[in-house]
Amino acid sequence: MRIYACVKQVPANNETRLDPVTGTLIREGSPGVLNPLDAYAVEQALRLKEQYGGEVSALSMGVPGVRDMLRRVVALGVDRGILLTDRAFAGSDTLATARVLAAAVNKCGMPDLVLCGRVASDGDTAQVGPMLAECLGIPHVSDVACIEEIARGEARVRRLGDRGYHSLRVRLPALFTVLKEICVPRLPSITGVLRGEKAAIAVWGRADLGSLEGGVGLKGSNTRVLRSHRPDLRVKTRAVAGARDLMDILREENLIAEDRVRGDI
């Protein structure tokens, strides 16, 4: 089985700073890490490989420095890392990003499975996965909590929906975005780390990817950030002595629930 795990480098923390003059985001100074939820996509890919055999590739679009992050992913047991980096990719919105990832997948030939994290911690959109599936012309399932079985070109999965878990059967190739619930990521072994350090990471640019219909980078993006600002998260905090006083406040503020009269439930 051939699996691709899409991994993104994100800032290690979300304490953003804005340039006071331009209002743009200052990214320097914040070290990059693997998007927390992508660790679950990688782990799930490795487990499927252990169970069914095959090969796992990690795919990332980002700045040249993302190569080091891919080495750390290879250290976990991934067979190869592919970095998609080019000035032409800069400023890509979610759809433009999906186009680049799709072109890279197509270049290697359609795998059986593409795994993404549910959401990236910086952009926070959860859009790239389903968009990538659409660009590849394969089905997707979001918020997968468990891959129960893969057999005869079909996966049985459980996904967390709005009101409970759905069981689904999906023909492969398919793309899943995975929840934290799906597995517990492993730590790299010493031999893995050594392997990662020596691993050759494939680096592909715009010219390596052939036609990117619809465009990439800022020019190929339909969405534009008009402006950004830091919201004022401070609230006026009032000290309250205990439950009794709180009940009075909640009543005053109309925050007490529906006809919940004593003994009714």
């Binding site: 959860a126 389903p130 534009r224 009543r251």
Partner: protein
Amino acid sequence: MGTYEGLQGIWVLCGVRDGQIDRVSRELLGEAERLGAVEGMKTTAVVLGREIPQIRGADHALVVQDDSLSVPEELRWTHELYHLVRRYRPQVLLLGANGFGRSLAPRLAARLGTGLTADCTALDMRDGLLVQTRPAFGGNLMADILCPDARPQMATVRPRVFRAPDWEAARPCEILREPPAGPDTLSRLVEITGFTPSGQDAAIGEADILVAVGQGIGSKENIAMAEKLAELMGGALAASRPLVDGGLVPYAHQVGQTGRTVAPRLYIACGISGAIQHLAGVAAEKVVAVNIDPDAPIMERANWAILGDCGAFLREMVDLYTTSPPSVLPDRHSK
């Protein structure tokens, strides 16, 4: 397009629940009306399904009724919506940012080749363009986003951001029926074979009140007490990540960066420190913090801070709830 001109304005994809247009869709129809008034655009409620409920609160309703649409499924819905959008070319398409909408919208936007803004917390119309405001970086940054050229301008919007209009008073709309778009090879590749409800209490994205527990909760008994209080208050139990990782509370209850984003009217945080990854998921109207540490970060984000043991607090709350009948919770915006 003759009589269909009105369909080129603002569309809301409406979900159906318990035989009614669901709450977030009603909220969006209300907002669509406001946005439409700014630019003189008509609004359209788009409803797909086997059974179509009564539709109110828009100028038009575009309805596709078919047996094959009995259960919402992203690929099937994408196929239908793609054809509707291609045919009528709306300026704006809004969807609820629930799990289904967040999975469907990117699929559809990619097929249409248009822009999509996820999880908006405010919308506006300026010079014919939809200004879409959304949080990023765990709520540390707000961005205003435009989709200047491609159409439709698509956005998903969190539940409870807008006020649902008075549904009874809302005008019924002119219904236009469309036949289904015809066979779709992609959606045949996915089959929904079962559903396990996660229980009333797990719908933390929809609850008005959340009683949330963290590592300071102290004991299993106190978690049960929190659950009891949530039940008494007509709300749901939520938890920070350590309790979920520790197997004490199921994952569906986890709030935060790696869990769910919640927007209840009231969030009662018991023994939660308020780490940035936790607060990233809390978009509550009002927060109560119960903590023994006056310097816990949550205390600064709380409207009401109680310094003390959360076990004792929960017991007292449950006592008070079972002895003094509280009043009715009015709609969040009608204060």
